[in-house]
């Protein structure tokens, strides 16, 4: 039981950690000062490409994938941005062709909400289990807890 709780807590903190890193990523690689038009286009193409799922890979973005289709999709992203389309418009283009599946980060609605809420629910559940077990152990009396960890 304790091991399961640890695993829960570990999993939840991992999820939260990656979510935080992901949320930061576009900001830090966004508008760097003194960049030329071309490298700014490269930057935004890279940001959009890393948000699109590669159709022929397993859980990879088209930015990361060496697959031929991913390469061609990156060039579509770049061409559309160069033609003046916004990042959202480019993503909408791919969604209209491949469905919402193409977005690596699912939109928070419907069943997708599970992905966003599950870590917090698991955390709350874990906390509740800890509190409950701790109460039970302390009620049983100090010193007579057989399965409590011994400091080493």
């Amino acid at each position: 039981m304790r091991r399961a709780m640890q695993a829960f807590a570990f999993g939840a903190s991992l999820t939260l950690g990656t979510a935080a890193v992901r949320a930061q990523a576009p900001v830090t690689s966004g508008n760097r000062p003194e960049t030329s038009g071309v490298s700014r286009l490269d930057d935004s193409a890279r940001i959009i490409s890393s948000q699109l799922r590669c159709p022929v890979c397993q859980g990879e973005s088209i930015q990361e994938s060496p697959a031929e289709l991913a390469k061609q999709m990156r060039s579509v992203v770049r061409d559309q941005l160069a033609a003046g389309r916004s990042g959202e418009e480019v993503k909408a283009y791919f969604v209209s062709k491949y469905g919402e599946w193409i977005l690596l980060e699912p939109k928070p609605r419907g069943m997708n909400l599970m992905v966003y809420l599950a870590p917090f629910l698991l955390l709350l559940g874990g906390a509740w289990l800890i509190v409950r077990s701790a109460r039970k152990w302390t009620k049983a009396g100090a010193g007579s807890v057989p399965d409590s960890p011994t400091p080493d």
Binding site: P55, V56, E68, L69, Q72, M73, S75, V76, V95, S96, K97, Y98, G99, W101
Partner: protein, 191 residues
């Protein structure tokens, strides 16, 4: 006390089991296409191979060797994406070619769009497979394939007379499937 605990464990397990069951109902590699019901993405693609029995096809020359979807309004179009490196395409090729042959003279056009391949390989493959009854089109930068949301070959799109995608089939098609689908689409009024 142990009974209530068993009850709680069961209640807690139900959503998990449901979630697992839900997971087994979906093939993560199958991407549901949003295209059926929408206007078929336009294309203008060069012809790289002509029907084997009509090497100097007059109709193809009249189109200046480029096929445009917008010039096919009012016809049913069967668009098959394939490649010479694709094994499943070997299974369907004779079937598709037979269907296209049987439907010649009807208001339907068949095209085989080469996917991530070079025309010479495509032509060699067609010859090795014993010919093809419809034209082969070349999509050099995969733009048309991406426009159709392609994620593998073979994939076959059926486009109605109104220029809208009606069906998409992933994987090899059969003669009867293609003929039944096209006949049903031809029989519809105005679509």
């Amino acid at each position: 006390m142990s009974w209530s605990r068993a009850l709680w464990a069961t209640v807690a397990a139900i959503p998990l089991l449901l979630l697992l069951w839900f997971g087994t109902q979906h093939d993560p590699k199958a991407i549901k296409s949003p295209l059926p019901g929408k206007a078929a993405p336009d294309f203008a693609l060069a012809v790289f191979s002509y029907p084997t029995d009509q090497p100097n096809m007059a109709a193809a020359l009249a189109m200046k060797d480029t096929v445009r979807l917008d010039s096919l309004k009012g016809k049913v179009v069967v668009l098959n994406f394939w490649a010479s490196w694709c094994l499943a395409c070997r299974d369907e090729h004779a079937e598709l070619s037979a269907a296209a042959m049987a439907l010649r003279g009807e208001d339907v056009r068949f095209y085989g769009v080469l996917y991530q391949d070079v025309p010479q390989n495509g032509r060699d493959w067609i010859a090795a497979m014993g010919g093809q009854s419809y034209q082969g089109l070349y999509d050099p930068q995969t733009r048309t394939a991406i426009d159709y949301g392609l994620y593998g070959v073979p994939e076959t799109f059926f486009i109605g007379r109104d220029g809208k995608v009606r069906f998409k089939f992933v994987g090899p098609v059969t003669t009867s499937l293609v003929m039944d689908t096209v006949r049903a689409m031809l029989a519809e009024k105005g679509k």
